[in-house]
């Protein structure tokens, strides 16, 4: 039973398209995150939701919009995809922003 699951695992799309990545956690955590890992392997936080409320919103283009329908789900929608959006996107969850910080297996997005 996967604790933090993301779909799809791979996403190849053309510039200008709109795409979504879904994340679900079954750990009962109250906080979920999106991280981006670029080609240099740096992991950087993008967004964080606590009990469906947005609490971290790093300097990310407006084309990226997270949505949390409930505590167990956090989706990432990206409009007008650009070449520079190519990266691996990781979903994560934690309890209280501190405990049990667990990552999903990632979604590799390639924009061509």
């Amino acid at each position: 039973d996967t604790a933090v699951s993301q779909t799809p695992k791979y996403l190849v799309t053309q510039m200008g398209n709109d795409k979504s990545i879904k994340c679900e956690q079954n750990l009962g955590h109250d906080t979920m995150y999106w991280y981006k890992q670029d080609s240099k392997k740096f992991l950087k936080i993008m967004f964080s939701y606590n009990n469906k409320e947005l609490i971290i919103n790093e300097t990310v283009p407006n084309r990226f919009s997270p949505k949390s329908p409930d505590k167990a789900h956090l989706n990432l929608h990206i409009n007008s995809l650009e070449l520079g959006d190519s990266a691996v996107y990781f979903c994560a969850s934690s309890q209280g922003g501190v405990y049990g910080y667990t990552f999903g297996s990632g979604t590799r997005l390639t924009v061509v």
Partner: protein, 111 residues
Amino acid sequence: EDQVTQSPEALRLQEGESSSLNCSYTVSGLRGLFWYRQDPGKGPEFLFTLYSAGEEKEKERLKATLTKKESFLHITAPKPEDSATYLCAPLLTDSWGKLQFGAGTQVVVTP
């Protein structure tokens, strides 16, 4: 500005050859420090959380220690299955659940 530096960038070890990885940080406020390992094509896998200077935690061949400005991950008698990228990430006090990752140390253990 918060900074996290991991050294070395890459480490090649013979099986059984112990070594240490360093994570030094300059952050506005530290709530804890996380260590993860990441295998190619996979997400970071949790190893340890350290919360206060002087704290140590162990798991199999790995031991993590924490001081006020840095953390060490000691690998004792490594095996090829310990090959991975090891990431450290301070958890900042001024932002709910924000992990500030270092660039990682890529460890390769050869038989």
